[in-house]
Symmetry: C2
């Protein structure tokens, strides 16, 4: 396809999605759930067929010299497909959101005013590598009564095409329009530029992928973007604090897994407990090979820890999302300095205070300007499933519309409903 | 100021607003209400002084040849100031939104998860002519715990400066930072371009003014915009329908006032009731001098009405927001065609169905994709005060974040709060 053809093609997808979205918006809960259950069945029935398409992506990736972990992320194993199928069934069993009418109240004029939850319309999802995102996005879109246009990575194009065919088959089985979920069939990059600039057809863009991709999309999009940039999460050990709890939680926040965005990247410690706490957590980090990038005070307190990998932190370290066995450590005067430091350096994702002081806890919750604020627990809990949302579309580091872990509600909006009996305005 | 100085100046306002916003976010309800009451008192005490500053704007406007209604909108009469003062007192008496914790639920891991309402941070408001908007925006900003940067029209600059001084005096009296409400002191247009492109300082922009201004801001802004474009509102008279009610409500929706965005601009009538209904409403419109732009069927049914000003509607008429004694009229087959027509031509502001049929009413509410949908009442009710919001920042025709009339909640966001007792993730 040349650029002109790509533009035309993307516009066609947009128009088809917009048309399908009106049908999805009025679909009943049982129809949508029927499609989700059909999709779960089709995924299980097609494990072997999907392996054939998936193998073509895997061969191409291996031939192109992709690293083993990258190739692994492309793999549609029976286990991955079973997880996808179970995800669809779980969504089918969740309560219906759409059409819910809330807060209907009578006003002095006589009219009754409330708000109804409705689908947002059409969303575009742009993602890299893992093909199972096709099923996650499609099933969330069906459940929430939206239409969507999916743009996966070129390295998974054959797998994505095969999965999208199953999704469309499931939609048709349930009597829903197949255009409710469309996969962009070309790997041309121009299609992304088009997709994010069609406000007449697409209501919101959800990118999932590297920081470069998300920054580019945020900059160029002509529609709202639910974006997730860095997770530079902080754990602050306050004075007074239960230090056993602090060691256990700080260890979990940093080392339970290094790659997730909700892992803590920076540790702040109140001066009053630093001399006792830092050597204890330092020994844990040393044993696990975690590099500690410290301010001068922390460096001094940690220097007696045997086997500790200590370096002096630079200004840039306070901003850094390592996603690796590295943590920045700073001694602060107390809760005021901790809050000020976090609000300055954080990416506004998730921050935790570990404390026994009720007033400090309340101030931290109220004054730290991040999408999740926690008391006495691990930042690793910032997750749609852990929060009970049932499904997670992404984690938003924005303040607008959806903030933090975004569930199905993030794909809906509230419109005003007014019921009258012939009232007129005077 | 030259362009470089304007850029520097606007950045300084941004930094000051950001700093002040942290203090506003933790201010107690009583402190904010104290500032609002002080502002009300200062407005009343300074009626004479404000008249002097206002007179300079009025003289300049008259000398520049502005029309009498335009000059009138600039006027800070004692009545206008008293209304502003009462607005501040009303806000002071409204319940506090900030800090409210909702839906705290225990999860299987043991953590308790809920959401806390917090200020959005810093908003920029860009408005034209009426200086009383300075007080409306400032008081909403104080109540919601935000900081704001206000950019009024150049024609009201002296009045706005005088009002902003009183706002800052009220803030200081209550012990709040004066930078929580800042007026852009230059009338240089470059300042608007700067204000809408500082995502590091400004979280959302709210423009109030003509369509040209709002379109330009939406196109160029680097931060979210709560925007209100057209109000091409529809009233649909269904079959079956109480025609007495339909005549009364349709008349009100069109003629009670022509200029508001929630006035109906288009009338759709089900074929089954058109022959009886159209001559009746046509007589009302004829008596009030309302021009009727009709499709061929409506034209024929209305032609016997004596004194009716009838013209043939063009395609463009179905899109038009007249804000004048003009209405477009079309006969449709029924509720399906009405919904399809509205979803195609509407500006997604407000639409009403007048009907006796329960199923039609439910379908209209669910399927019409507008920010307000109504049954058996006048579109003129689409208004923050009529909806019981207490105060209105604007009416959003977007689906994202805030939709329809936007009250104080539109200036807040929800962050996640997690309370634990040392839980870790496994």
């Amino acid at each position: 396809m040349n650029a002109l053809n790509v533009a035309e093609y993307t516009q066609t997808l947009g128009l088809q999605a917009k048309t399908a979205s009106a049908q999805m918006a009025r679909a009943s809960a049982s129809t949508k759930n029927k499609a989700l259950k059909a999709l779960a069945r089709l995924l299980r029935e097609n494990v072997a067929a999907l392996a054939v398409d998936n193998a073509r992506d895997l061969e191409r990736a291996t031939a192109a010299g992709l690293s083993a972990p990258m190739v692994d992320r492309l793999k549609l194993s029976p286990q991955v497909l079973e997880t996808c199928a179970q995800g669809c069934e779980q969504l089918a069993s969740m309560p219906e959101l759409i059409g819910e009418l809330q807060g209907l109240k009578q006003q002095p004029s006589g009219i009754r005013v409330g708000q109804m939850r409705v689908p947002i319309g059409v969303f575009g999802m742009i993602f890299e590598s893992r093909p199972n995102v096709t099923i996650e996005a499609a099933s969330l879109s069906i459940k929430s009564g939206n239409a969507c246009i999916l743009r996966g990575g070129s390295e998974a194009i054959e797998s994505n095409k095969a999965l999208a065919r199953l999704v469309q088959q499931a939609l048709l089985e349930a009597g829903l329009p197949e255009d409710a979920v469309q996969l962009v069939q070309t790997t041309d990059r121009e299609a992304v530029g088009q997709l994010i600039a069609m406000p007449q057809y697409v209501d919101v863009i959800i990118p999932r992928g590297g920081k470069g991709l998300i920054e580019r999309i945020s900059r160029e999009a002509k529609v709202p973007v639910i974006k997730h940039l860095d997770g530079n999460c902080h754990t602050y050990v306050d004075d007074p604090c239960d230090l056993d709890l602090a060691v256990r939680v700080t260890d979990n926040a940093k080392t339970q897994k290094y790659s997730p965005c909700n892992a803590s990247e920076s540790l702040l410690v109140a001066r009053g407990v630093a001399a006792e706490f830092l050597p204890r957590i330092g020994a844990v980090f040393a044993a696990k090979g975690v590099e500690m990038r410290c301010d001068p005070e922390a460096l001094q307190l940690l220097s007696p820890v045997s086997g500790a990998h200590l370096t002096a932190a630079t200004e840039q370290d306070w901003f850094e999302e390592y996603l690796a066995p590295i943590i920045s450590i700073k001694v602060v005067a107390g809760v005021d300095e901790a809050i000020a430091h976090i609000n300055h350096y954080s990416s506004h994702h998730t921050e935790a205070i570990l404390t026994r002081d009720h007033v400090h806890a309340q101030r931290f919750l109220r004054e730290v300007d991040s999408s999740s604020v926690m008391v006495n627990t691990s930042t690793r809990f910032a997750d749609g499933f852990e929060y009970g949302l049932g499904a997670e579309i992404g984690i938003s580091t924005d303040k607008f519309h959806a903030r933090g872990p975004v569930g199905l509600e993030g794909l809906t909006s509230l419109k005003w409903v007014v019921l009258g009996e012939g009232e007129v305005r005077s």
